[in-house]
């Protein structure tokens, strides 16, 4: 078999990209474990197991070599991202259904890695959210607000959910959304889950994910365009509609930046290469639209956090964006799809 040029190859490889992404989630996971207990860790371990099993099953059914495709770690990345998004102390079946939907429905039914139009982790998350709204909004109170279950209790919560009786409470985003009587200042005083800038724990988790994302940027795993555009758009929207803390307030820009899945979404979901726009301008548009949608859905939509929905909606639009943001090829006057 003849080998075409180039004969040299750069250092980057898909498994390495995936491993880097996995590594970059570590600070965020550590912070989440610190504030919410071992729930997230148990989620990830169990979810990873299910994901590998689902991936292997799908590959087997499709007659693909198992080892070769399992080694790209994409299933583990999907599982980790989904499990971080799930509430800690979720029952095992919830995680299994989510992972199975993500890997089998959102990924392999569309042709496997690289062919999926929707982000598998977010598709799995949304399927769970609309199917099991109760379980999906039951967040444990963070350290300092409520009692943290231990590792054994975390395992119990996962595998014998009936025997586990955990305390749950609304997340700050939820409280902010439901509120229509208190001023933002009073809200802060009356609810213990609000911290310095956003929610207790949430703000630090977000900063940790920001750090992980910055490391990925440094490693050139992705470009800055989409995440920065998303954060900028979200900040802009929050700043535009920030009324200084009335009862109808949507929250300050800082609150939005450090709440919920903002940073996690910006650096780990929006940057998913398969489902996002490709060209530089396309990524700017794609990220900015997600940022705007996140704010709109958070403030006006039915669900408390919005990253998953915003991302899925823009996944739809990615090919369209790509079509209209084709770069001008060397030596061409403006041609192709145009502006």
């Amino acid at each position: 078999m003849r080998i075409t040029s180039p004969h040299a190859h750069g250092p980057m490889s898909t498994p390495r990209v995936m491993l880097n992404v996995l590594l970059a989630t570590v600070p965020g996971i550590v912070v989440m474990t610190h504030f919410f207990g071992f729930g997230t860790l148990v989620n990830i371990l169990w979810g990873g197991l299910v994901a590998v099993a689902c991936e292997a099953l799908a590959l087997k059914l499709r007659g693909r070599p198992l080892g070769f495709y399992l080694k790209d770690y994409s299933a583990l990345v999907t599982a980790t991202l989904l499990c971080i998004a799930l509430p800690p102390y979720s029952p095992w079946w919830l995680i299994a259904v989510g992972i199975a939907s993500a890997i089998l429905l959102a990924k392999h039914l569309y042709g496997g890695l690289g062919y999926n139009p929707f982000n598998p982790a977010m598709a799995g998350y949304v399927i769970l959210l609309i199917s099991f709204p109760v379980q999906m909004t039951a967040w444990a109170p963070p350290r300092g607000v409520g009692e943290l279950p231990g590792l054994l209790e975390a395992l119990q919560a996962c595998f014998t959910p009936a025997a586990f009786d955990g305390v749950t409470m609304a997340t700050p985003l939820d409280v902010m959304k439901q509120n229509n009587s208190l001023l933002v200042k009073d809200l802060w005083q009356q609810n213990p889950q609000f911290g310095r800038w956003a929610g207790v724990g949430w703000e630090w988790a977000n900063l940790a994910f920001l750090a992980g994302g910055a490391w990925l940027l440094y490693k050139r795993i992705f470009t800055w365009h989409a995440p920065v555009a998303m954060l900028a758009a979200l900040t802009l929207m929050a700043a535009l509609f920030n009324d200084g803390g009335s009862s109808a307030s949507g929250g300050s820009p800082l609150f939005h930046l450090l709440s919920g899945a903002t940073m996690f979404g910006a650096f780990f979901i929006v940057t998913d290469p398969v489902t996002s726009a490709v060209s530089v301008r396309g990524r700017l548009v794609y990220g900015a639209m997600i940022g705007a949608l996140v704010y709109i859905i958070r403030v006006r939509g039915n669900y408390p956090d919005a990253v998953a929905f915003a991302v899925l909606i823009m996944n739809f639009a990615a090919p369209f964006i790509d079509y209209y943001t084709q770069p001008r090829t060397y030596g061409h006057q403006r041609s192709g799809g145009g502006e």
Binding site: P6, A8, D72, D322, Y330
Partner: protein, 673 residues
């Protein structure tokens, strides 16, 4: 300081240039045999002007250009022409191409030659002629004839002359050492080019990873208008279009030439070759080639005669074949694997790369494209490689063209960065070739359609003319009959008409009968064949079971076979006779029908037969054909036809007899097996 422009994308692969820079340019010497391909450049191959056995002198023209975009070839040393034949050349396909082989005599005797040190006294056309006659074709790697590049249309004003000293590919240092050691000659060559082109400004672009070359060039250019421009290293800055953008900020329009934006670009190697051609009158017979990679003990640059075998050169550098998995001509980014180390060095061989497996490993299997977009970031012409990859996979050629596939320079940056190891460049190369093929096919099919329609029209016209003539004859006959009728009784014509009708009817009936006869024969063949099949099947099972009926069955099968043969022969004979008979008198449709049926039957018989039966059928057919030819030959002889025809027929008979014999042998073999 000049403003340096950038270009989109680009990559920074490890340079690996220092290995071959440890020693100065070495002389590779004169190998015992030189193989000089006639096509070492882009354009029409040259035409050999020497014959085997001729003695040639060094620098003598041995092949002349065969078109505008073509260059001559010269003998690199003195010796005798050993062969003019197809030899394997350095090409990714590994195919052979016409070459002139010179057995060198070691005397290295120059042909009489002379240059003109005062080139300013020559005008542009004369200089171009000298460059062309010296056989100079782009030394950078592409091999575009230098004279063609320099002869721009008179209405185009060249603003900028660019001398390309960039050499951006990893490993290659041929231009680097040339600039270090022969900076003066480069400047001299550049001055000749300036004299030809008369540009506003002359730039020599050199990357900042060659400080020694920069210094040497700066020193040599001291005091002249030539501007040595240093710019940051990035692959592929050495691409002509990229270099033009870096130095001037202008982009060559798609499908256009640098001259369209007032730029002409020449390689430093070409500049030296031009100097040699003009000042010394020396044609291009040697070049500087880098030999590098872990497969050789002493990586270095050689001044090597064109036509030297790569193996010879590699041995000079201490080549060990075990260490080296594949031999690459050119750099690791755009070079290609040569089929064997025995192919010759040509004008475009700037590097021989013999990497160890650990150095440039065999690419692992490609993984799925994850649309990471790294390829789009790396692409120096701002394409969307990953989109083109999907389209190439789906063979969506229209979309590929819309995505400007043909602007791809195949630099390999996309493949280099691809985390999934997808051989993107191969997709683009294959798609480009297929699109060009499709274009040719469409053109051809359109052409065929026009010809077919013209033929139909012509036939229709001929038919119409015939019809008109017949009508005229008929009319005349009628008139005559009328005259006769008025002269004689009026019973005769009616009687005649009735008889005619009767005859026609009879003929029709006969025809109908024939058709049913044909059907009968066909049916007979079909049933016999079926019977044969069942019988053979039974025989097979019997054999397998070791039954004692085998013998009886065998005779049965043989008998059926014979019957089948007879039936087929009858059918065939009948068909032949029939078509022969019918062809002329009957209406055209009938003959066509018969032909179709014949073809169908023949094909049906062909396809459903076992190899043995097939061979037998073939034999039968051949025999018949032989028979036919023999009769024809006899006829021709009787008629006293032209000798030529008789001869041809005789030849046919002989050939067919041979074929029959062969077929018989084959049949025996099949039966034996």
């Amino acid at each position: 300081m000049r403003k340096i422009y950038g270009f989109h994308g680009g990559i920074h692969p490890p340079e690996n240039k220092h290995q071959s820079l440890r020693s100065p340019i070495a002389d590779a010497g004169i190998p015992p045999e030189l193989v000089i391909p006639l096509s070492q450049h882009i354009g029409a191959p040259s035409r050999a002007v020497v014959a085997v056995g001729d003695r040639v002198l060094k620098g003598q023209m041995i092949a002349e250009p065969s078109g505008f975009v073509s260059v001559p070839v010269h003998a690199p040393t003195s010796g005798t022409i050993a062969a003019v034949e197809d030899r394997q050349i350095a090409h990714p396909s590994g195919h052979a191409a016409p070459c002139i082989v010179i057995a060198s005599d070691g005397r290295d005797q120059w042909i009489e030659h002379g240059g003109k040190a005062d080139y300013t006294s020559l005008d542009k056309a004369e200089l171009l002629e000298r460059i062309r006659n010296a056989g100079i074709a782009g030394m950078g790697g592409a091999g575009f004839p230098a004279a063609v590049k320099l002869s721009v249309k008179p209405d185009i004003k060249i603003e900028t002359l660019i001398i390309n000293g960039t050499e951006c590919e990893p490993y290659i240092t041929a231009d680097d050492v040339l600039m270090r050691e022969r900076a003066g000659e480069i400047i001299e060559g550049t001055n000749i080019l300036r004299h030809i082109v008369q540009p506003h400004e002359t730039l020599i672009g050199i990357e900042d990873n060659k400080p020694e070359a920069l210094a040497a060039m700066r020193a040599a250019a001291e005091g002249s208008d030539i501007d040595i421009v240093e710019f940051p290293t990035k692959y592929p800055s050495g691409g002509e279009k990229q270099l033009i953008e870096i130095l001037t900020g202008k982009q060559v329009p798609s499908g256009g030439l640098p001259a369209d934006v007032g730029v002409i670009c020449q390689n430093v190697g070409s500049a030296v070759a031009i100097r040699d051609a003009v000042v010394d009158g020396r044609p291009l017979i040697s070049r500087i080639t880098t030999v590098t990679g872990e497969g050789v003990a002493q990586p270095q640059n050689f001044e090597v005669l064109l036509g030297t075998s790569m193996h010879y050169l590699l041995d000079k550098a201490g080549y060990s074949a075990e260490k080296n998995r594949r031999l690459i001509m050119g750099g690791p980014m755009m070079g290609f694997t040569v089929p064997s180390p025995d192919v010759p060095i040509v004008k475009t061989t700037n590097c021989l790369l013999a990497p160890a497996e650990s150095e440039l490993p065999t690419p692992p299997p490609a993984q799925a494209c994850i649309r990471c977009g790294m390829c789009a970031e790396a692409c120096p012409v701002t394409l969307l490689p990953q989109q083109m990859f999907w389209f190439a996979q789906g063979k969506e050629f229209e979309k590929l063209e819309l995505h400007n596939l043909f602007d791809c320079i195949e630099c390999g940056a996309c493949s280099w960065v691809c985390p999934s190891n997808i051989p993107l460049v191969q997709y683009y190369r294959a798609s480009k070739a297929e699109i060009l093929q499709l274009r040719r096919d469409t053109e051809k099919s359109e052409h065929s359609r026009i010809r077919f329609e013209a033929r139909q029209e012509r036939l229709a016209k001929e038919e119409a003319e015939k019809e008109a003539k017949r009508a005229a004859r008929k009319k005349a006959a009628e008139e005559r009959a009328q005259q006769a009728a008025t002269a004689g009784g009026d019973e005769d014509p009616i009687q005649a008409a009735i008889e005619r009708a009767k005859a026609k009817k009879a003929a029709q009936q006969a025809g109908g009968g024939e058709v049913s006869e044909l059907e009968k024969l066909e049916k007979a063949v079909a049933t016999t064949r079926k019977r044969l099949e069942t019988a053979t099947g039974k025989l097979e099972t019997a054999k397998a079971e070791g039954s004692d009926l085998v013998e009886a069955l065998q005779t049965g099968v043989d008998k059926t076979k014979a019957k089948l043969e007879a039936a087929e022969k009858a059918l065939h004979d009948y068909q032949q006779a029939n078509s022969g008979e019918q062809a002329k008198p009957a209406a055209p449709t009938d003959a066509a029908q018969a032909a179709i049926e014949k073809a169908m039957a023949a094909r049906a018989a062909d396809a459903s037969l076992s190899p043995e039966d097939k061979a037998r059928g073939q034999l039968e057919k051949l025999r018949q054909r032989l028979e036919k030819s023999r009769t024809k030959l006899a006829e021709s002889r009787e008629n006293g036809d032209e000798e030529k025809i008789i001869e041809a027929l005789e030849a046919t008979v002989e050939r067919l007899s041979q074929k029959v014999a062969e077929a018989e042998k084959q049949l025996q073999e099949t039966e034996g097996a």
